[in-house]
């Protein structure tokens, strides 16, 4: 009932092919009402926009009109028969009648046909109250089924309950194809088809397989599209229809999908992607849509706990006690070892408001700048590299922009697994004919999957990104493909001249770099030409760019490439980091770096510091503090003794686990705030129970700089908001912090951060979401950055010399390990492993090329031991040519495999972002 409250206009708005066609207004008369709509609009959309609700079943405004149900027929003066209003386009002067005796009779009789092959179990049906078929039967006045119920039917068809989250009951299917079309048009997986024909036509997954056995990725688009109970969430079957809705934002990846949490009391019944969500526009993936059960998992800790030693048992205490205890221990450490002996780590999983108060606590109550964020280990090079070149530490486009790209470059990212909702957008554009270049050692799904095929797959050797990006730029510069006008007008001339000289050197040529990267020169040249000569070309990249010893260099190399080709500042272009966690962008924006205050302003900048000092009524240290690796190293060196870890699992996600654990063990006080006793909590003395996103009030900022509201669907199950805990701790440590609510925190952020100046909860509630910069001048935010000029004025080219990583394959460790993600699991898996998503991925496996496997006597499924100079882990082998020879690949969703035991201490030269993506290893079968 709740989801159908949204006004569904039946068909999508007319495709905008040019400014001219979209602007032409057409006036027509519908049921005596004069209606004016843009040319290309369907009669149905025109009518519904005018609140004339033509009946419909197969039409919905998220899918192209199809014309199969025939409920929407109307009479149009001068036309024969009864045209379907969904497939008939408006014409000037058209006179439409949606309600005549004949129309009513045909609609009722069509409905009678439907119901003659439909179970009559409305009262016990899971869709009761949320069934379009039921609604339409009512709307058309169906009163009897004269065909009787003993004719041919589909009522005995078996239900498919194989998917953990939804059921497929073909006996209730009306063959409207909405699920099939959603799978094709929205998700782009093509896992469903209508099979057979005529009366026998039916929906089937794969080759008439179960949903689980089919190619289905469980995104939920089909379930959402289904107008009956054929595809139904199991939670709805169990709980019944929800009775209220809270609009909020998914807490998984950096796409930041908007959802309607549909609830019954304080219990979530289902999460439904919101059509008006700027990032997702009604789409979702298996994680956001279904894998929210962890929020109420029995493993969740709801009471604060303390213990003297990590070998002791945990002891539940009150909030007051834990705050007092923690504050006194931190103060004690500072008294004995100095103010710099403690620090904090903020989390990209938390809200902007939570992150803001954590960094404020560190700076104002800890009196140091030992604040870092987990973005350190993922996208810190992005912030650095883009700031240096463009002047702002963020991606340039909104997600929608990809719909205008003619060439799409994906570097070191695997969107179909890690950013699936954006991947669906991208695939839609690729199906429309955009060309794709994939730069990745591994053959990710985008390289070739139904209806998608990369024009170029540059399968480079791990660690050679910079050689490849330089070679691409080299081709552009030496083949006369430079967008001279763009460079002249928009970029810094001196830096360009220097860079041009550098990049044109023979050692940057594809032929020279081929030796390092393994990418055939001819293929690389073709890719460079394709990118440079495209009308609009956009680059999307992920951790395969940043998590290298040259991560920042690579980001700058990408920026150089985009500038030299003039692929910036317009729709369909840009440089776009795909952020891993839901609030990586926000955590960085909020000043949780040891050297930067909110808004990326350096702590040493006196004016900025004074602004904050005045507002916070405290004196700030002008010296940058310690980064995470420095904190850990200092701890191991006996100089750092206490840490506040906010929603981050250092012992699992950070590289060189042995080193991390040693550092944690060396500290006197480790405070962990999380939902679960994670790996880091094993070494903690204080555990502060956190709140799940469904309990939070605040904002997340996604990869496109979009500030989305997170609204509490239910009260905090721990009794406190996380920002309240931080405020209490700060206050107990001698720096009073208090806010009435999260909105007040955002008001403070806005008052101190120019790019957030126009942001407030009230504004967001009014307009939905904004992309920063959001100011008085741009109250609706900024979709595309650097449109007329770069934020820093002139775009700066930087010399990006390729320096091979010190991590090299050797005789002892001849293979290179690189890491990534799978669709069903999220990051370290603390959330997704506590959901039914485990059915898709029960363990991390090691992908190894058949030739490497054969050489070592490894067959598919074997247990293998993988060793690096840092350590060894055991996991099962998956023999596949998705990885090239010489490269092995795994994920780190499970602590059992503990991939980070073997990753190394190497990190980005500029930001210390760890080099997760290159580790020299050897693999041996285990007996």
């Amino acid at each position: 009932m709740i989801t159908t409250m949204r006004k569904d206009l039946g068909t999508p708005p007319p495709a905008v092919t040019s400014a001219v066609t979209s602007a032409v207004p057409v006036r027509l008369e519908i049921d005596g009402v004069s209606v004016t709509v843009p040319a290309g609009t369907s009669v149905m959309r025109a009518a519904r926009a005018a609140d004339i609700n033509v009946a419909k079943l197969c039409a919905t405004d998220s899918l192209a009109s199809f014309g199969s149900c025939r409920l929407c027929v109307v009479e149009i003066a001068g036309r024969k028969g009864l045209p379907a209003s969904c497939t008939t386009l408006v014409e000037e002067g058209m006179v439409v009648r949606t309600q005549t005796e004949r129309v009513a009779r045909v609609r009722r009789n069509v409905m009678e046909l439907y119901i003659s092959d439909h179970p009559l179990d409305c009262l016990t049906c899971a869709a009761n109250g949320d069934c379009e078929l039921q609604d339409m039967a009512g709307a058309v006045g169906l009163r009897e089924v004269r065909y009787g119920l003993d004719g041919a039917n589909h009522l005995v068809m078996a239900k498919d309950e194989s998917n953990p989250y939804f059921t497929f009951d073909p006996s209730k299917c009306i063959v409207c194809s909405r699920c099939v079309r959603a799978c094709e048009e929205i998700q782009g997986t093509f896992a469903l088809s209508i099979t057979d024909r005529g009366f026998g036509a039916k929906v089937s997954a794969g080759m008439n397989e179960s949903f689980m056995a089919s190619e289905c990725v469980s995104c939920g688009a089909c379930v959402q599209a289904c107008p009956t109970a054929t595809l139904t969430e199991k939670t709805v079957i169990a709980a019944g229809q929800p009775d209220r809705t809270v609009k909020t934002t998914c807490a998984y990846c950096g796409v930041g999908c908007s959802f309607n949490a549909e609830l019954k009391g304080n219990e979530v019944v289902r999460m439904v992607p919101a059509m008006e969500g700027g990032a997702n526009e009604g789409h979702s993936c298996v994680k956001g849509r279904f894998a929210w059960g962890y929020a109420s998992h029995r493993d969740r800790v709801l009471k604060p706990m303390v213990r003297e030693r990590i070998t002791d048992d945990w002891r539940e205490v009150s909030w007051d006690e834990v705050i007092a205890y923690t504050a006194s221990r931190f103060l004690d450490i500072q008294k004995r070892h100095g103010v710099g002996a403690i620090g904090g780590i903020s989390s990209s999983r938390c809200t902007n408001e939570e992150v803001y108060v954590v960094q404020k606590m560190v700076r104002a109550a800890f009196h140091n700048n030992n604040i870092d964020t987990c973005a350190r280990v993922c996208h810190s090079p992005t912030g650095y590299g883009l700031k240096q070149t463009f002047g702002t530490s963020a991606g340039t486009q909104d997600f929608k922009s990809v719909a205008h790209a003619d060439v799409i470059v994906v570097i070191g990212a695997n969107p179909t697994d890690a950013h699936p909702v954006f991947a669906s957008r991208m695939k839609r554009r690729l199906r429309q004919g955009a060309k794709l270049i994939v730069i990745d050692p591994r053959r990710i799904d985008l390289v070739r999957s139904p209806h998608i095929e990369a024009t170029h797959h540059l399968s480079l050797r791990p660690g050679t990104n910079v050689a490849v990006i330089n070679a691409l730029a080299h081709v552009i510069v030496t083949e006369g493909l430079v967008r001279e006008d763009f460079v002249t007008e928009r970029c810094d001339a001196l830096s360009f001249a220097q860079w041009r000289e550098f990049i044109a050197r023979p050692e940057q040529s594809p032929e020279a770099t081929e030796a390092h990267s393994g990418v055939p020169a001819g293929e690389l040249r073709a890719a460079a030409r394709l990118y440079a000569t495209a009308q609009n070309a956009a680059i999307y990249y992920g951790l395969g760019v940043t998590e290298h010893s040259q991560g920042s260099t690579m980001v700058m190399g990408i920026a150089n490439l985009a500038m030299v080709a003039g692929q910036l500042g317009r729709e369909g272009t840009g440089v776009n980091p795909l952020r891993g966690q839901n609030n990586v962008q926000g955590a960085c924006d909020m000043g949780s770096f040891p050297h930067e205050l909110p808004g990326y302003r350096h702590i040493s900048d006196t004016a900025t510091r004074h602004t904050f000092e005045a507002a916070w009524e405290v004196t700030l240290d002008a010296e940058p503090g310690l980064r995470i690796p420095n904190m850990l190293a200092s701890a191991n060196a006996g100089q750092f003794h206490g840490i506040f870890v906010h929603g981050e699992d250092l012992a699992h996600s950070d590289p060189d686990t042995t080193h991390v654990i040693a550092a944690l063990r060396a500290m006197e006080l480790v405070v962990v705030q999380d939902l679960f006793l994670n790996e880091t909590a094993k070494f903690a003395h204080v555990f502060l129970p956190g709140t799940a996103f469904l309990e939070k009030d605040g904002t997340f900022t996604n990869a496109e700089r979009r500030i989305n509201r997170v609204r509490p669907a239910m009260p905090s199950r721990t009794g406190l908001s996380e920002w309240e805990i931080v405020c209490k701790l700060s206050t107990a440590m001698g720096y009073p912090m208090s806010y009435v609510n999260a909105a007040e925190i955002m008001d403070e952020i806005a008052s101190l951060t120019p790019t957030f100046a126009g942001v407030s909860f009230a504004h967001l509630d009014r307009v939905g979401s904004v992309q920063w910069p959001c100011t008085a001048v741009k109250p609706l935010g900024t979709r595309i950055m650097h449109e007329d000029a770069f934020v820093r004025g002139k775009g700066r080219f930087l010399i990006t010399e390729y320096v091979p990583t010190d991590e090299k394959s050797t005789r002892r460790f001849p293979l290179l390990l690189t890491t990534g993600r799978v669709l069903s699991q999220y990051n370290v898996g603390t959330a997704t492993r506590r959901t039914a998503n485990v059915v898709w991925h029960e363990e991390d496996t090691l992908e190894i090329h058949p030739s490497d496997a054969e050489l070592r006597g490894i067959v598919n499924g074997d247990g293998v031991r993988m060793m690096s100079r840092k350590g060894a882990i055991t996991l099962h082998a998956c023999v596949t040519d998705r990885v090239p020879a010489g490269v092995v690949y795994t994920t780190f969703h499970y602590p059992d495999a503990a991939a980070n035991v073997i990753t190394t201490e190497f990190s980005d030269w500029a930001t210390n972002c760890p080099e997760y993506k290159v580790t020299a290893v050897e693999v041996r079968p285990v007996d």
Partner: protein
């Protein structure tokens, strides 16, 4: 009701190719990979590849679908969706020899239902089942384009006409006794096809027709017998003149012209050709000069003028009889001038919808696009019609010429012929004609030496009637399920692969050659009112003199059926005539004086459609026919729109109830409303026109519905 000629025992069959051991998956996979290595993997090549797999392995296994999906970069669901849609593609193997009985109206009119019952009893299976020994698979099919010579049967690539119980038994015996070694090879190249080109004047020539229908009743055996007996004779395999009641119609040269001999079997050959020289007009079996046979002489053949006269694959005979003149003229004209010519002729689409061809061409002409297509709809699925098949069997170059003219008119460089798979012989002829035309420079990069480029690809349907609907046809050409598209957009604006596309019927495109060769005025001068030109009517079912009758619009139905048709074959009184295929009305005697033109037929709730005319005698139970109309729709519905998908099944059920006398009044009302719902609510003409035959029975033969003969099992289960 066996026809003259019958099936005879002389026919052999080619077993469905099951050469590969389908139980060996490795072998199958290797063979499949070999196939894929040769096949392009763009969307349009999917159906041809699946058809190849079906032919080679007898079915398309799930293993094969997986591999094919991978190769074509499609999902498994998509490939499965396609395989499950088309009747010709099977997901599991069936009996080695597939015996298909035509169950369409024209064959029903001459006893197909009785024959089917006999076949089921003889084989011990129902339609759609295979015998326990796995040798024979029996199933229903709908029309082989042999409607004047029914009942028809297909085994392998051979169609049999005039099949009776004995004939069927004999063929089945031949299949199951392993005597297929005597099988006649079907490949055209291996058939006696001795045609000398150019004709040597001194040689004695005999003409033995080679179209599917003539072959279905023994033309090949006649040719073989003559060749054996008289090696000195030149046997020309002309196409048929379409006078099917005379087939096999053998002709010999004489000083005055070609002398015809009707209904000749191999047994007559010694009598005719035992002596030296050739039999003459004085021979007792002579029909006189073939041209003078009144049935032929009374026609006005424009499109079919050279049909039956020439060797279909002789380029020189085609040219000698006026071929390529239209194209030659078109090459000298501007595209707009060609379009104007077609507009001026008043030519309307002969596929059934009768939309003015020139206007359609104008739309495509005016639409800006680099790529445009000409698509010939040769999916002649309407039972009772065979004009497309005859034209393509007997005069294929005319179609190619017409398509090329269309291409010049609209600026297309690529064409497709979408031919139904039920016409295996036509497939071979067309493929050869295309190659000959290409070799002669009539197709290809430089048409007749001009800078114009055009080529044609032959595609074969998958056994789905709905693909005769133009948008479903386009979907099928794109390698998809043959599901109807909603219009708009019109194919003329956004057709094949989204490009502007001319979709015309075979006869429309063929007629264009005459329009261009002789001028619009001449063509427009023939016919009646807005129905200009001639219409090739096809007389079939229970008719004495069945065949193709090309006459100007305007003749009455009675004149056609009596003057040409000569009444029923059974000699019993005519009861009903179905015009326009399975979606056409059954006309009672009171309507037989309706002139044969589009508007007059529309005025009486009927339609000309593609010109099929099927005669029924007074033994027909019109209630059965009404029910069959719904059953056929249910069988062939693409399943997209609700009125057709569910309505047709419910329609058959409701008619069944009415015929059994169950709540007749209420069900009658329900049936009327259902007809309205289907007519007004359906997405395409299949659902929209199925009510036409049903209503005609309700209106004109209510007694057959309300007080029917006892319902027999056969009437109920056809599909």
């Amino acid at each position: 009701m066996p026809r003259q000629g019958g099936t005879g025992h002389a026919h052999g069959t080619v077993p469905v190719a099951h050469a590969v051991n389908t139980t060996d998956p490795d072998h199958e996979l290797a063979a499949l990979n070999a196939l894929l290595a040769r096949s392009p993997t763009d969307a349009e090549s999917l159906l041809p590849l699946l058809q190849h797999v079906q032919r080679q392995f007898g079915y398309v296994s799930t293993g094969a679908m997986r591999v094919i999906a991978q190769a074509f970069n499609l999902s498994r669901a998509e490939v499965y969706g396609v395989v499950s849609f088309y009747g010709d593609l099977r997901e599991a193997p069936v009996g080695t020899h597939v015996v298909q009985l035509c169950m369409a109206e024209a064959c029903q009119a001459v006893g197909a239902r009785t024959l089917a019952t006999h076949a089921e009893q003889a084989l011990g299976v129902r339609l759609g089942e295979s015998t326990a020994d796995g040798l024979v698979h029996l199933e229903a099919a709908y029309c082989f384009g042999n409607c004047a010579l029914g009942p028809s049967m297909r085994i392998g690539d051979h169609v049999y006409g005039g099949v009776d119980a004995d004939g069927l038994d004999a063929e089945v015996r031949a299949l199951t006794s392993g005597t297929s070694a005597r099988a006649m090879r079907d490949a055209l190249s291996e058939r006696p096809m001795i045609s000398v080109d150019p004709r040597a004047a001194s040689v004695l020539r005999v003409y033995v027709p080679n179209d599917s229908a003539a072959r279905s009743i023994g033309a090949d055996q006649v040719a073989e017998a003559i060749a054996r007996l008289r090696p000195d004779l030149e046997i020309v395999r002309n196409g048929s003149r379409g006078a099917y009641f005379l087939e096999p119609l053998i002709e010999v040269d004489s000083a005055d012209g070609r002398v015809g001999f009707g209904n000749i079997t191999a047994a007559h050959v010694p009598d005719l050709f035992g002596a030296t020289g050739l039999p003459g007009r004085d021979h007792p079996r002579s029909l006189g000069l073939a041209d003078d046979v009144p049935w032929l002489r009374q026609q006005q053949r424009i499109t079919f003028a050279r049909v039956g006269l020439i060797d279909p694959l002789s380029l020189s005979e085609y040219r000698a009889t006026g071929g390529w003149r239209g194209l030659e003229r078109a090459l000298r004209m501007s595209p707009q001038a060609i379009v104007n010519e077609v507009k001026g002729s008043g030519l309307r689409g002969r596929g059934g919808a009768a939309f003015p061809a020139g206007i359609k061409w104008q739309t495509v002409h005016d639409t800006q696009s680099v790529t445009k297509y000409i698509v010939c709809n040769a999916d002649e699925g309407d039972s009772g019609t065979f004009a497309d098949r005859l034209l393509m069997d007997a005069d294929p170059f005319q179609l190619l010429e017409g398509m090329t003219i269309a291409a010049l008119a609209v600026g297309a460089t690529r064409g497709f012929i979408y031919l139904r798979s039920e016409y295996p012989h036509t497939m071979e002829i067309t493929a050869r004609a295309l190659q000959l035309a290409r070799d002669a420079g009539m197709l290809g990069p430089s048409l007749m030496g001009s800078p114009h480029r055009f080529d044609i690809t032959l595609r074969i349907g998958g056994g789905a009637y709905i693909c005769g609907e133009e948008t479903a046809l386009l979907e099928s050409l794109e390698g998809k399920r043959g599901v109807v598209r909603a219009k708009p957009p019109l194919p003329a604006l956004s057709g094949l692969f989204g490009q502007p596309t001319v979709v015309n019927n075979v006869l429309t495109l063929a007629a264009v050659t005459s329009v261009l060769a002789n001028g619009a005025t001449l063509y427009a001068g023939v016919g009646r009112d807005r129905s200009t030109g001639t219409m090739p009517f096809q007389l079939g079912g229970n008719v004495l003199r069945g065949g193709l009758v090309e006459v100007p619009f305007g003749l009455t139905l009675r004149e056609l059926v009596q003057n040409f048709g000569g009444g029923t074959y059974s000699t019993r009184p005519m009861k009903a005539i179905q015009v326009g295929g399975p979606l056409g009305a059954y006309l009672p005697e009171s309507q037989w004086d309706t002139p044969l033109d589009y508007e007059s037929f529309a005025a009486v709730g009927a339609m000309l459609g593609h010109g099929g005319v099927v005669v029924f005698d007074d033994t027909v139970d019109m209630g059965v026919q009404a029910q069959f109309a719904m059953e056929f729709c249910a069988h062939e519905s693409c399943g997209k729109c609700t009125p057709c998908r569910i309505g047709s099944t419910r329609g058959a059920e409701v008619i069944g109830r009415i015929r059994r006398g169950e709540s007749s009044r209420a069900n009658w009302q329900l049936l009327e409303e259902l007809c309205e719902t289907m007519e007004l609510g359906s997405l395409c003409a299949l659902g929209g026109l199925t009510p036409m035959p049903v209503r005609s029975v309700m209106t004109h033969f209510p007694g057959d519905l309300l007080s029917p003969a006892p319902v027999r099992a056969r009437d109920e289960v056809l599909l």
